[in-house]
Symmetry: C2
């Protein structure tokens, strides 16, 4: 498949690399490709400069948000939550119309200190904001409850005996995302319902952040035991 | 031990019955014991009238919030979240001073329709509100992420291979609660840290409510796989 991945941080890179490894034609999108490629210092999270990292991923293409959105279906939103709506606007409504948008972002607000809070929650969610702004796009929320390394390789923990969630209004879109998740190795994929159910996994971040601190590793996930 | 359980709903009854079965001297507290005992119709959740139910629990005592708080250490807050601060005020600051208060409540707001939202979250929690109002009480948040039947009998699911959380400022209080949880059968008890970490498990309700709907049963829990 042709897949666009918006965002060049850890999550975008990890998803793009794995999708590429699985044989998909992936274009990774960023605000200003020339500027991003020219950067020579690590980003705020210590990631390799993008140009250097791309050398290790010769099959990946780099483009603008608009080019990556135009290239792929599905398109993955792996931008920072606080920048997601703006990035998707740059990607362009018409380029996203009718497409599956896999939203893995979180509405994290770092302005009030650590751990971050959520800038939308409980009676609304970032996934719903995106769906409202892009009504013809088939938004599916998933994977936002995990560190990037586990998103694409659930077998790193307990033979993949743990859970991931799906929320979205379009059954066909959810089925397509389910198949993509299965190709990553996911076994327990729980369909929570329509896009409003994304409030649940987004609010799960409140627990995730405290577990990250208590366990001193991001390599954990929840298994829904029933 | 002498234990006070505030609240006579499903959660309060379930905890009181189990604690009594384990040999503790339990007093269950309600706003108006005479009125509660005189009731002859099921409550809003279909529970037996309290008097009828108490006939099946001859070792349980019934008292006011103040009497139950005076009777026990620990005291369990199993009142509805929206009524917890008022119930604890009726229990009385001096009766709660120095005691372990096990807070199993959730800040659920049913006024905006179903599923309920949370009336405090993210940058504060009900557990912190309680701790602020009762600064000499040793508040421990736990068990709020589960349906009552699982709180007291984790072995109903997967040989108790799932997780429960602790949040609180007092290490001794958390140790006491840990032992009580172990006596219920809990094996994976995760100390998240101080009382502010209760924001995590309280926000987990957002996911719990959607899972309850998607799985069509409250008999589930999360296992933190790491």
């Amino acid at each position: 498949m042709k897949i666009g991945v918006l965002g060049t941080g850890t999550v975008g890179r990890t998803l793009a690399a794995r999708l590429s490894e699985l044989g998909h034609e992936v274009m990774i999108g960023t605000r200003d490709p020339a500027k991003s490629r020219a950067r020579t210092t690590p980003d705020a999270y210590g990631n390799l400069p993008l140009g250097r990292w791309l050398e290790s991923q010769p099959r990946l293409k780099l483009g603008s948000f608009a080019e990556a959105a135009g290239h792929g279906d599905p398109v993955v939103n792996a931008t920072q939550g606080s920048a997601s709506l703006e990035a998707l606007e740059k990607a362009g409504t018409t380029r996203l119309d009718g497409k599956v948008l896999i939203d893995v972002s979180n509405p994290l607000d770092f302005s009030r200190g650590m751990p971050p809070t959520l800038f939308v929650k409980d009676s609304d969610s970032l996934a719903e904001q995106i769906q409202r702004d892009f009504p013809k796009t088939r938004v599916v929320k998933t994977l936002n409850t995990l560190t990037a390394a586990l998103m694409v390789d659930p077998w790193r923990l307990d033979q993949a005996e743990h859970s991931v969630f799906l929320s979205g209004n379009d059954a066909g879109a959810k089925q397509a995302v389910r198949e993509l998740l299965a190709s990553f190795g996911w076994k327990d994929i729980i369909d929570l319902g329509d896009i409003s159910t994304a409030r649940g996994p987004e609010m799960l971040l409140g627990a995730w952040l405290r577990l990250y601190s208590a366990l001193d590793t991001p390599l954990f996930n929840v298994k829904v035991v029933r």
